[in-house]
């Protein structure tokens, strides 16, 4: 991993204009100038990036009457909050079932991918077998193969394997997206562990497996968490495979279920739809908020290596 992998924000310089000890060239910038060139553009961009979530959240607590009554700017707030949409979703639809499916598929696929990625990354980075460089390159290229050109042949394979319309169809296909990313990330991580530790263990008679389990893995826990979080969000977000390989309502994942089952074309049930979108986003958002630094380092690490 690279320098930014360390979860440290640069030490902040005191912002007081009168303080002569500001960092670097900060003294060249005045506050009014900063407001125009930095704070206002930043505020606008952040507002645009976050507004859909606000709107999603606020809609899911509005009553149906409130949703369709034109109120101008007053529509930006909710006046008669209701949890009817969420209650309906949790108790009168298949939504809890979808949550469970998504959870199961995501966690299984993540662990499967991490296991495969750990073995592969260790072999490529540390065993350095003949041709390991080119295999590493091939794995990078594999991460560039998009699901939208694989779903048709995969749907035929899934059908022939007899796992169509089951969670296993997703557990087996998601790793094709996850393994390349995780392997690439972990390769970078393993590279940062000193060789000497392994050599000592080899002299003491440890086998390669023991070295991997007892030395390399404990030292790369942050890397494993990063790869795990990244794989978790990727497979939680996956849509096209789940849409193609799953047909019955009770086997769907949250993204597919929300799009195919919650949309009723006679009456647009916006409150329920937004409640579904919000509840489906919450698990990843919460997980992400606990591991922001790991997530950022995995994303930037995957690109920078």
């Amino acid at each position: 991993m690279t320098e930014t992998a360390a979860p440290k924000v640069p030490v902040k310089a005191p912002r007081k204009a009168t303080n002569p000890h500001r960092e670097g060239m900060d003294y060249l910038e005045s506050l009014p100038r900063n407001v125009v060139t930095v704070y206002i553009p930043l505020a606008i961009i952040v507002f645009v990036l976050l507004f859909p979530f606000y709107w999603m959240g606020i809609t899911s607590f509005k009553t149906n009457e409130e949703l369709h009554a034109y109120r101008g700017l007053a529509a930006l707030w909710v006046y008669e909050p209701t949890i009817e949409h969420i209650r309906h979703l949790l108790f009168e639809t298949d939504y809890p079932r979808w949550l469970w499916n998504t959870m199961f598929v995501t966690i299984t696929a993540t662990f499967l991918s991490i296991f495969c990625a750990v073995c592969a990354a260790y072999a490529i980075e540390r065993l350095r077998y003949k041709g390991s460089r080119s295999v590493g390159m091939l794995i990078f290229l594999a991460s560039l193969v998009p699901p939208s050109i694989l779903f048709i042949p995969l749907s035929i394979m899934v059908f022939q394997l007899g796992i169509f319309d089951s969670n296993w169809a997703l557990v087996l296909t998601y790793p094709t997206i996850l393994i390349p990313f995780c392997t690439w990330l972990l390769m970078g991580y393993f590279r940062s562990i000193p060789y000497e530790l392994e050599e000592c263990a080899l002299i003491d008679g440890a086998s390669r497996l023991q070295i991997l389990v007892k030395i390399v893995l404990p030292l790369s826990v942050p890397g494993l968490i990063s790869a795990g979080i990244f794989a978790f969000t990727l497979s939680w977000n996956e849509f096209i495979y789940a849409l193609t390989f799953i047909s019955s309502a009770e086997n769907k994942t949250v993204p597919v279920g929300a799009v195919t089952e919650l949309i009723t074309f006679d009456v647009y049930n916006w409150g329920g739809l937004m409640a579904g979108a919000m509840l489906g986003s919450l698990p990843v958002a919460i997980l992400y908020s606990f591991f922001v630094e790991h997530y950022v380092s995995s994303m930037t690490g995957a690109v920078k290596e």
Binding site: E3, M56, L172, A277
Partner: protein, 314 residues
Amino acid sequence: MTSIPSAQISHSISWQTRLLGNRNFLGLVFMVPAGAVLLVFLTYPLGLGIWLGLTDVKVGRPGMFVGLENYIWLFRDKVFWLSVYNTMLYTVVASIVKFAIGLWLAVLLNRHLPFKAFLRAIVLMPFIVPTVLSALAFWWIYDSQDSVISWILIEMGVLTETIDFLGQPDNARASVIAANIWRGIPFVAITLLAGLQTISPSLYEAATIDGASEWQRFRHITYPLLTPIIAVVMTFSVLFTFTDFQLIWVMTRGGPINATHLMATLSYQRAIIGGSLGEGAAIATAMIPFLLAAILFSYFGLQRRKWQQGGRDD
């Protein structure tokens, strides 16, 4: 059986030890799990997809080899060419805007700001939240009757009636591109920010002493040092924009009158909904040359140069 000839033991041990000490053999063993999954579920389907494009296989019916018939058919198909045009437009416009705003946001976030870590964390939200679910939110924001954008603009006196975001071809194209940009900016911004943080401030100080303006500092320090990472980020961004499926499928399903059909959505519609797996596979295969072109362009056009790592350029 109490005693085994000692020579036999030492022989068998040495045979096993030698095998386990061989890094090529061990490497092979360690590669088996990942290799098996990727070969079976990635490499094989990639080949199978290209083969399917040459057959007339339908759902529930094995196909026959028909050569290039699917491609000849597509070549005369106006909807297919419309989808190619849409895909190019979608990719080019969205990538350029994502790059511009993403880089700008990265530069802004690279300054000393209050709550910087928090800002960086919330900026990434659109990338974390499942695309399909945020696309649903955009669908609601773009609603033809109750769109919040229309409401606010009417309230401000800019408009007198609501905008039909997804009902008119051009509006629909602009709307889905905007949603794609919204989703893509965080990825570009945060990865470029990581690149910016590796640039030494002393370079900017030296340039400032030499009288460089802010634009010159950006153009002659930031941009060249950032090119390798820009290349990788934009390759990923272009690739995933080009093959986008989720946003379109949720918001328009390719409509109105195919105006927002991308190659991926058209391929899904023909193959899974229409049942012509062969034709869908041909459309998917037709995306591969574009993807290869994008990868090669970024690889050769923007690859790492030696002077960026302190070496000499030759």
